[in-house]
């Protein structure tokens, strides 16, 4: 149809068209890569921590007075917390998933200093640990009250038993993860631990660690000066229990302070704040970018309509319908945009390769490229519609005027 004349007309005034095409191409490269980063962050954020997040909160108690007895305080605190109405269970632990601070060690299947262990995150818990975190024990059994040991800050002894995650079992025994139960592993090069249970899944405290699901539970209470209580409540009770627990702990013993009380939901939010902010910023960037590009299209199209007012009038006078004029500008934009998105596809992939090398980001999903191409073609058409309609309403009489 009219592609021939449109193309030739465009060739007479290439610069504007080239600028729009380039702009669309760079827009597409930014947009697709930004969306790919957003998808990646979304994936990371949606991973389960393995615990009953919505009903858990944590609070830290720090003893400071000379006559503060940490062990008795912990025992009494836990006894009190566990009988509080609305509390499902409570434990003392050194850390929680997503908190960013914790303890890691290496586990190895053979003893010896020359063997490199597999890194594992350690949660110190007692026999209520599995119930408090809401973990799913898939093999073996829970710790017994008699297994629980007490550990001072500078102690180096380990208990005899451990419960590990399935992911840890798979890393230790890649050939036979199901056979991990009952096996002996070594911590601190030579100290043996028997695997007495396997839990389905639980995350380490560091969400960006590549071994994030490698976790072991140790049946130990810690006497490290600062004590963290993990409290699981019945659904819906958490928010009303939090201030109560804080007040009770503070009042029960004046030789300590309680602080850093946070719900798991809040800990998750803080943990992924960087990622969720990145998503917000990128979304904002994409919206602005598309706005700038479409305004550019509107501006240039209006200009070209103004310049060609006389020519349009002439065409109209010679019998071209309004629709034909509209179609002319729409088609012109389509051709420019199409060239733009073709170039954009190349730029997108190039930019992605650069980003993978510089920041080890992930590859873009293939379907993003055609989807973005289609989307930008549509944006172009929408943007040009206004000026094109204005062009189509140029009256044929314009042709008869001199200026």
């Amino acid at each position: 149809m009219e592609i021939g004349p449109i193309w030739r007309a465009m060739m007479r005034n290439k610069t504007g068209a080239i600028l729009i095409a380039l702009q669309i191409a760079v827009t597409m490269a930014i947009m697709v890569n930004a969306i790919s980063i957003m998808q990646e962050r979304g994936r990371v954020m949606s991973r389960s921590s393995g615990i009953d997040e919505h009903n858990i909160f944590v609070i830290t108690s720090v003893g400071f007075a000379e006559d503060f007895n940490e062990r008795i305080t912990i025992e009494e605190d836990l006894a009190m917390l566990r009988v509080m109405p609305g509390v499902v269970n409570a434990i003392q632990s050194n850390s929680v998933p997503l908190s960013g601070g914790g303890w890691s060690m290496g586990l190895q299947t053979e003893p010896g200093a020359e063997i490199e262990g597999t890194g594992v995150a350690i949660y110190f818990v007692d026999e209520h640990g599995i119930d408090t975190f809401g973990l799913n024990l898939v093999a073996g059994e829970n710790f017994d009250a008699t297994d629980i040991t007490w550990r001072e800050r500078s102690d180096t002894d380990w208990p005899d038993k451990t419960i590990i995650t399935r992911a840890m079992a798979e890393t230790l025994y890649p050939d036979d993860p199901d056979g991990a139960l009952g096996k002996t592993v070594y911590i601190s090069d030579t100290e043996p631990l028997t695997i007495t249970g396997i839990i389905e899944q639980m995350q380490a405290p560091w969400n960006s660690w590549d071994g994030v699901e490698r976790v072991m539970l140790a049946p130990t209470h810690t006497l490290f000066g600062a004590t963290r209580y993990i409290i699981r409540t019945e659904p819906g009770m958490r928010d009303s229990l939090m201030p109560q627990v804080e007040e009770l702990l503070a009042e029960r013993n004046k030789n300590r302070i309680v602080r850093s009380m946070r719900s798991m939901d809040e800990i998750r939010e803080r943990s992924y704040r960087g990622d969720s902010s990145m998503i917000t910023i990128l979304t904002f960037t994409i919206v602005l970018l598309i706005a700038v590009t479409s305004l550019g299209i509107v501006g240039l199209a209006s200009f070209s309509v103004n310049r060609r007012t006389k020519q349009i009038g002439t065409r109209r006078a010679l019998g071209a319908s309004k629709v034909a004029i509209l179609r002319y500008f729409m088609t012109e934009n389509f051709i420019i945009s199409f060239l733009g998105v073709l170039l954009g596809a190349g730029l997108t992939i190039g930019l992605n390769i650069l980003m993978i090398e510089a920041f080890s980001l992930t590859r873009i999903a293939w379907y993003l490229v055609p989807v973005a191409m289609l989307m930008l073609l549509m944006v172009g058409q929408v943007a040009v519609f206004g000026p094109a309609r204005r062009a189509s309403s140029v009256p044929p009489a314009v042709a008869t005027r001199t200026v």
């Binding site: 610069t15 504007g16 600028l19 729009i20 702009q23 760079v26 827009t27 490269a29 930014i30 890569n33 930004a34 980063i37 720090v62 400071f64 007075a65 000379e66 200093a113 020359e114 490199e116 001072e152 800050r153 500078s154 102690d155 180096t156 002894d157 601190s188 090069d189 100290e191 600062a226 302070i257 602080r259 704040r273 960087g274 969720s276 902010s277 990145m278 917000t280 910023i281 990128l282 904002f284 960037t285 602005l288 970018l289 706005a291 700038v292 590009t293 305004l295 550019g296 509107v298 501006g299 240039l300 209006s302 200009f303 070209s304 103004n306 310049r307 930019l351 980003m355 510089a358 920041f359």
Partner: protein, 437 residues
Amino acid sequence: MFSYYLKLGWLSIRRNPLLSTLMVAAIAVGIGSCMTIITVNYIMSSNPIPQKSDQLFYVQLDSWDPNNEDDDGFEPPEQVTYLDAMALMKADKAYRQIASNRSGLVLEPQGEGERPFAVDTRNTWADFFPMFDLRFIYGSGWDDSADRNLERVVVLSKEINERVFGGEDSVGRSVRLNGMDFQVVGVIDEFLPVPKFYDVTNGAFNEPEEIFIPFNISVEYEFPRNGNTNCWKTPDGDGFEAFLNSECAWIQFWAELRNETEKQDYMTFLNAYAEQQKELGRFPRPLNNQLSNVMEWMEKQEVVDDDAQVMLGLSLLFLLVCLLNTIGLLLAKFLGKSGDISLRRALGASRSSLFIQHMIESGLIGLGGGVLGLGLTWLGLRGIEMLFGDFVKNLVGLDWVMVLTAIGLAILSALLAGLYPTWRACRIAPASQLKIQ
């Protein structure tokens, strides 16, 4: 002439308000988004102590595990062990040196009904204060004898002095920490190095500690360690003594070396120390001790976040889109007034004066975009502050360098964008345009 061109430019901008607004807006949005991200990057990578950053050296000793090799070979541990820190302090070979680590204690205010609260503390040595150029409001740091004689002295931050003593001169008074009384010897002025270079291991953009305590005191009373502790070997035996003598690294060590000779002498000393330790059966890896000055250390620790760099790249591309946009619009505008240009040419204006005139017009648009963009940058930084909260409190300030950069970048971009359209405008042959009229 310049003011005449300014006036012409202004008139031309006013004649075409839609196109002009679009151009100013495009530049403003580009500058705004770019400068927001540039500011964050700029602050992340800024020099926290410019006056002496190349005289302060972070010390790394490779005392680590011979069986644990990274992909890029052996890297010494980030921090040093207690044994090594004490040996280096005792040797006293640098002009100044400090070993330090992070701790947390509970402060009990003496007033009636005031609740005890937790404070972040730093255990360090007398040299910390002169070495890092801390300024004092009251008193001064402690001296070497306090370190040696285990004196219970503290230096307070300005904020904690406000909170506990209402901002009065508290020198000589005492504060109660973990059930023990400490005598205040000094109160420092505002101290907020960004990045917090002296301890990037425990958060490069965290707030500095609130109370400074002699390191030896913290060991004597076994204060808790709130920082990172890494061990490649389990301590031989239980108890604090065994921990101190272990291969656990938990201390940051800084040395002040005033020139290249001092630096080389110190390196020689470190290597001799390591050799001597090898004879005692420690330091099983090949010799690999390192001295990094402040900016080298920031680089090594990759203080600038990957995300910030990705955003920087994307925002520069964004600016490029805005520029392409401006080029197109300027082109439309300048070619739109071909008649004008031809008339001026015909009346004797030279090409170069037309060129200058149009570049000035572009510059004006750039200036407008820059000023507006600065406003958008401020908004953008507030947005980032809102999103990230207290994590970035120290990263979202605009200083005059950034303000000038924003305006400069805007004008430069507009001039660049104006080059081609101006060139095209100047090439219009006057005769062809005037004929129609």
